[in-house]
Each structure stands twice: as structure tokens, then as C-alpha cells.
């Protein structure tokens, strides 16, 4: 069974995000970029499946500019076998990515597609679900634990208020949650090997996908700043303020 994992190039989790002065987006010049953390978890899970013999090949997919090669290389250094880059400088929204993924799925015929539950830049939480709908496949979102057996996957899902166990038929789409696993460090020998692993580059046109955005961003703004607090002298004063100023009790 082949496993396809999606890896997105995003602003590094630890970077302090700054909104551009003209409110059209966030500053990306000279900003450290890394793999979306949920996608690292997806790669790790796929590699573990291969190590356990449940998967035969792990393919890392990314869509975006040429620099996404680096993100795919990271996946290859962790242990993925080869990469597919759909190269475009266009703005990509979840629907476009889902369609590109579908085109690659049609070509590669994987038994499982594992993607992050969301990317930490746009926080859309849509790509996995849209892909499953386009393919007509089962979907297990927010996976906390996976078990592949006899043509189906048991998924422990993180839901409001606890965990839910479901069993879905393969082929299937899985979206990863934070506690699914702890991604490994890429070892130096694997980093060196990854340099020789193949990355196929495709264009959206060649896959017959129109990636034109369907949504228009009007404006990007900083969240409102928290106002400084004050110190109260007594409990009575606190209660008074909560009641009359904040209106919460």
C-alpha cells in the first residue's frame, strides 16, 4: 500500500508574525519557513506504517513555489521515499490544494492519504475533508491514534469533550491531530540519502486543475491588543468591578 502525505511550507511556528503595513497579508520576507507541524506528524505516522510493514511506499506531496522542494526534502530526510511537487507561484486555497491532491491520488493510487488537520498559517481545517469529498472516500479527522488492519482503519478522534473511536474503510483520508505521535529528528545519514531521492515536479495545468482563488482576502489585521490590567485592593472591589464594569457576574 502506498501512503501519500501532504507537506506544506509555512512560517515557522516560533516566528512572531507581523502584519504587512498595507494590510494585504503577513510579512514573509526574511522569515524562517518550515514544514507545517501537523504535516510533520503526518509524515511520521506514514513512516511508522512503513516500518511496521503496513505501507510499502511513502510519497510526500507539496504544492507551492520552488522553495517547497526544501519542505519535501525534510520529509525525505525523515524517511519518505520520494516527492511530488506541484509548482506554482499562485495563491493556493484549500479547494485548489484538494483538487491538486486528487489529481495526484488518481495518478498514484495510494491506499491512504494523510494530511494535517490544519496548516498553522491559514488555519482553514478544510483540505482533508474537501479531498475526501472529491474522491468519495472515507475520512477520519483529528486522528489521535491510527490502526490499519484488513482494508480498514481504526481512528481514535479528538472531539469536543473526549475521544471517539471509529472504523472506516480504505482507501481513506486521515487528518492528524497534535497527539498522534512525536515526529522524529532527521538523522545525518538520512539527510544525506534524502538528497538523492527523486522529486517529480508537475504544473497545475498538466494535472488539469484550475487553481484560481475562489475567496478574496479583503484585509489582514492584527488582533486587538489586550489592554493593561489594574490592581484591586480588596475582594469587595474586585466583585464590584466584575459586576458593574465587566458585567460578568
Amino acid at each position: 500500500m502506498k501512503v501519500l502525505v501532504a507537506v506544506k511550507r509555512v512560517i515557522d511556528y516560533n516566528v512572531k508574525i507581523r502584519v504587512k503595513a498595507d494590510n494585504t497579508g503577513v510579512e514573509t520576507a526574511n522569515v524562517k519557513m518550515s514544514m507545517n507541524p501537523f504535516d510533520e506528524i503526518a509524515v511520521e505516522e506514514a513512516i511508522r506504517m512503513k516500518e511496521k510493514g503496513a505501507a510499502t511506499e511513502v510519497i510526500a506531496f507539496s504544492a507551492g513555489p520552488a522553495q517547497c522542494q526544501e519542505t519535501i526534502r525534510t520529509a525525505l530526510a525523515m524517511g519518505a521515499d520520494r516527492g511530488v511537487l506541484v509548482q506554482t507561484d499562485a495563491e493556493l486555497q484549500p479547494l485548489a490544494v484538494a483538487k491538486l491532491l486528487k489529481a495526484v491520488v488518481d495518478k498514484e493510487q495510494p491506499g491512504l492519504v494523510i494530511v494535517g488537520k490544519q496548516a498553522i498559517d491559514d488555519d482553514s481545517n478544510q483540505t482533508g475533508q474537501m479531498l475526501a469529498a472529491l474522491l468519495g472516500w472515507s475520512v477520519g479527522t483529528f486522528a489521535n491514534k491510527l490502526n490499519v488492519a484488513d482494508g480498514s482503519v481504526e481512528v481514535k478522534r479528538e472531539v469536543d469533550g473526549g475521544l471517539e473511536n471509529i472504523k472506516i474503510k480504505m482507501p481513506a483520508v486521515i487528518t492528524t491531530d497534535l497527539r498522534l505521535n512525536e515526529p522524529r529528528y532527521a538523522s545525518l545519514p538520512n539527510i544525506m540519502k534524502a538528497k538523492k531521492k527523486p522529486i517529480e515536479t508537475l504544473a497545475p495545468d498538466a494535472l488539469g486543475v484550475d487553481v484560481a482563488p475562489r475567496l478574496k482576502t479583503l484585509k489582514v489585521e492584527e488582533p486587538p491588543k489586550r489592554k493593561a490590567g489594574i490592581k484591586v485592593k480588596t475582594v469587595a472591589e474586585l466583585v464590584e468591578k466584575l459586576r458593574n464594569e465587566a458585567g460578568v457576574i
Binding site: D12, Y13, N14, V15, N30, K32, S34, M35, P37, A66, Q67, Q69, E70, T74, A77, E182, Y185, A186, S187, L188, P189, I191, M192
Partner: protein, 476 residues
């Protein structure tokens, strides 16, 4: 006595004065809880003027003054002695950054500003203040300058001494010396600034400083490398200077014992490599040149991969990982920085903050481990530190299950074994933590008479009443 306290109150107000035992406790106990002293009061002035007034009052009343910053020092320098009439003068209310000049690459700060705040302020202006050490979230710049602190980037940027241009100091007489000169060149007689730097508060109180800034690195590569021996670590570093185009900013060595303590005591710590190895190096290369994008993409990470790959073929490297993102880089650093904390959680230890020439590190480690084991066969050596500066924390953890009472009687023999060897290597018995109360006897023993006498002469000349942090560094 209460008269004296009231006079203090008149200077610093209620906000600046702590006299109850419970309130004083954290100020009279050191970070490792090895020293507990006594203070008439803890005084927290709000500005230089108040510091000077307090010192003048103390000079008149013959009360000693113990300056204190973040109280993270590891040699008891900021802790009052058990006997005597002393106050702790804490700078922890003097936390203003009074000027930042990104064009001239300087920042002017009060002594109580926390090191991390200085780093963050520099970063917000696209600049770097390179002093960096595990206590950076708690220690103050005044303490850093007074101990001439080192840390993890000395290799590239120098000790605290090299990162400062000017100082403002309150003398033991309560006078204010304004040496806040933002000058790179200033050959005007004796260098008073250099005298106060590293003086551990024995010659005066640093109240403000002009710090030097650097351009902020735009490309950083961090690696965790298993090496067969300290010898391999030193060889790896030696070649890295050229391979990185002189961009090695940190090179830390760690033995396996310390890693095991961190994995055991620090929640969330994991081993980045699959096998167990005896020695590890944490390598960081930083450049102010951003990574190249596009067709010819690359930067320090690629250089590091190539260099470590070659070193692996030569057997200098057994295994390694290079951080793929900032989260991994921080996790690797946490493994190194949590050594001190993990050792404290494990139990008692004796610490040797030593330095020898970098090239002599391998031989020193071999001989030193043997000497330590000879002095106390059951001891558990924990070796880690700034190998790029020739500085190791060549520590000895108490044997498993031993408490302080059982362990401390052996400390002297272990210390003597290590320090005798250090001195025979032409090294230093205190590379970055200072002398404080902890090493006064050792300093007097290992340094020449002329050196100690010269220090005493300086101390007596500047502080004839011996009221400024007495009993630290040298006894007069």
C-alpha cells in the same frame, strides 16, 4: 538599629524596603541553596540617586552592602555573610531601558534589566545582544557584567566584558561615576570600566551600562552530533571555523551522564538520536547573510550537512541530526541548558567551572576523570560546557543515594584533585562563574602572592572601610 532602618526607609520608601524574615529569605539564599546569609534589610532603590544615598548612609553607619541582581550566581557572591552587619542592595527595581540606538549599535540600560528583556529589545530592532546563558530569564545585566558572564556564544562574540562600552557606578563612598560613554575608542588613563567588570560587586555598584549590539543573524543552523571522544569534538570544531566561513557561534560538549540526568529529570526531554553515545556536541552556526532562495537555494544548513557528512566518513562523527525547524533547535538547546537544573534535581554535586587551552581539553578530560575517580571511586562525573572556549563544567555528582552530609566531606579531596590538575595545565579554577564566597580559599592557594597582593591593594585603595561586598574574592 531601627533608627538605621528608618533612615533607609526615608531614602527608598516602603516599596523599596524588606525587613521581615520571610520577605528577606529569597534574597539571602542562593540559587543552589548552598549559602544562607543574614541581612539587616533588603533595600531596593528605584534609581541611581537612591543607590548612592543608601551607600553613603551605610558608609556613615559602617554597614556593609551586598549588591544583588537576579541572584542566579553560582558562587554565593550576591549573598550576605552569616555574621556581620550587612544589607542586600537589590537592583531589581531598576529595570528601565533608557536608550536604544540601532544606527550606532548601542543600548543603554539600568543594572536590573533582565538579560532576556535586553535580547528581546535588541531583536525587535533587528539587532542582537549576544550574551546568552541558561539563566537568562532571571539574571540581570548588572550581575552579568559584575561576574563578566560567559555563556554559549563567547566563542564568537566574547565574554560580557567585550559586550559593553560604558558604565555608571556608585563607589563605596556613595559617589556616582558617570562613565556612560558610547565610545569604541577612549584611551584616557586607567580603564575604570574594566576594573568594575568582573569585580563581583566588591569595588562598587554598577547602576547603568551602555551595551554593544550586533546585526541579527538571518540564517542559523543547529546540529546535535554524537562524537567518539572529546578529541574528535575539538577536531570537529577546529575544522568548522573555515567550513562555516567563520560562522561558528556555539560549540558545547556534553558527556552521556549529563544527558541521562536531563532525560530523567526534565519533563518532555527526548533523545534526538537512536543510539547511545559517550559524547555529544551541540553546534550552532549563524550568519547575518540570509539563505539564498530559488534555483540556487541554500545557506549554512547545506554547508553544515556537507561538513558533518565528511566528518562522518572520517570517523569524527558517529551520528547527528540537524534541526529542521526552530522547535527542534530549541529542543536541542534545552537538552544542553537543562544540565544544571537536572543535576540539582538529582542531588548534591560539586562543580568545577574550569578552563584550559582548547587544544588541551582532550588530555585534560582523560586525566581529570581519572583524578576524580581516584579521589572518590564512587563519584559520578558529569562533564559539559563551552568546549569552544576551553571551558568545561567538570562536575562530580554525588554517588547515587548519597545525601549532602555523606558527600560533602569528600568534596575537598575531589576539588583538590581537579584544581591541581587544572593549574598544572596552566588553566583557570573559575572560568566564568567567579569567586564569590565559594572559592576564596582556592583562589588564594592557586594564584601567586603578587597577584593576590595586587588585588588586595586595589580593594583597599577603593574601599578602605571594606564595606562593599566584604569577604568575596579576597579577604583583606
Amino acid at each position: 538599629m531601627s533608627d538605621f532602618v528608618e533612615k533607609l526607609r526615608a531614602i527608598v520608601g516602603d516599596k523599596g524596603l524588606i525587613t521581615d524574615e520571610q520577605g528577606k529569605h529569597p534574597y539571602v539564599t542562593d540559587w543552589r541553596e548552598s549559602f544562607v546569609g543574614n541581612a539587616l534589610a533588603v533595600v531596593r532603590p528605584a534609581n541611581t540617586r537612591e543607590v548612592a544615598d543608601v551607600v553613603r548612609l551605610c558608609a556613615a553607619e559602617k554597614v556593609s552592602v551586598v549588591p544583588q541582581g537576579g541572584n542566579t550566581g553560582l558562587v554565593g557572591g550576591g549573598i550576605p555573610q552569616e555574621k556581620g552587619r550587612e544589607i542586600v542592595l537589590s537592583l531589581n527595581r531598576m529595570t528601565r531601558i533608557t536608550d536604544i540606538d540601532p544606527i550606532g549599535y548601542t543600548m543603554t540600560v539600568e543594572a536590573g534589566v533582565i538579560l532576556k528583556t535586553i535580547q528581546e529589545t535588541a531583536a525587535a530592532h533587528d539587532r542582537l545582544f549576544p550574551l546568552s546563558l541558561a539563566a537568562e530569564g532571571s539574571c540581570s545585566i548588572g550581575g552579568n557584567l559584575s561576574t563578566n558572564a560567559g555563556g554559549v556564544q563567547v566563542l564568537h562574540y566574547g565574554n560580557a566584558r567585550q559586550l559593553v562600552l560604558g558604565l555608571e557606578v556608585v563607589t563605596p563612598q556613595g559617589e556616582i561615576w558617570n562613565g556612560l560613554r558610547a565610545l569604541k575608542k577612549d584611551n584616557t588613563g586607567y580603564d575604570l570600566r574594566d576594573l568594575y567588570l568582573g569585580a563581583e560587586g566588591t569595588l562598587g555598584i554598577i547602576t547603568r551600562a551602555v551595551l554593544k549590539l550586533w546585526p541579527k543573524p538571518k540564517d542559523v543552523a543547529t546540529a546535535w552530533v554524537a562524537v567518539p571522544s572529546p578529541e574528535a569534538a575539538v577536531a570537529l570544531l577546529s575544522g568548522a571555523h573555515a567550513a562555516s566561513e567563520d560562522n561558528v557561534t556555539s560549540c558545547e560538549l556534553m558527556g552521556r551522564q549529563g544527558i541521562d540526568l536531563v532525560l530523567q529529570h526534565i519533563p518532555g526531554a527526548t533523545d534526538p538520536l537512536s543510539g547511545r553515545h559517550d559524547w555529544y556536541v551541540l553546534f550552532e552556526w549563524s550568519s547575518t547573510r540570509a539563505r539564498r532562495e530559488g534555483a540556487n537555494a541554500g545557506g549554512l544548513r547545506e554547508k553544515m550537512e556537507a561538513y558533518l557528512g565528511e566528518a562522518m566518513e572520517q570517523g569524527l562523527v558517529l551520528d547527528a541530526t540537524i534541526a529542521q525547524n526552530e522547535t527542534q533547535a530549541r529542543a536541542l538547546w534545552a537538552l544542553r541548558e537543562n544540565h544544571t537544573e537536572a543535576s540539582k534535581k538529582e542531588g548534591p554535586s560539586v562543580k568545577h567551572d574550569i578552563s584550559v587551552a582548547v587544544s588541551k581539553i582532550p588530555a585534560f578530560v582523560t586525566e581529570g576523570l581519572a583524578a576524580m575517580r581516584k579521589a572518590l571511586p564512587e563519584c559520578r562525573p558529569v562533564t559539559f560546557g563551552h568546549v569552544g572556549d576551553g571551558n568545561l563544567h567538570f562536575n562530580c555528582q554525588a554517588p547515587a543515594g548519597w545525601d549532602k552530609a555523606r558527600f560533602l566531606p569528600h568534596a575537598h579531596a575531589v576539588n583538590a584533585a581537579v584544581y591541581d590538575l587544572v593549574v598544572s595545565y596552566g588553566g583557570s579554577i573559575s572560568a566564568e562563574h567567579g569567586i564569590g564566597l565559594l572559592k576564596v580559599d582556592e583562589l588564594a592557594h592557586y594564584r601567586s602572592k603578587v597577584e593576590i597582593d595586587t588585588m588586595r591593594t586595589i580593594k583597599r585603595a577603593l574601599d578602605p572601610q571594606n564595606l562593599m561586598n566584604p569577604g568575596k574574592i579576597v579577604r583583606v
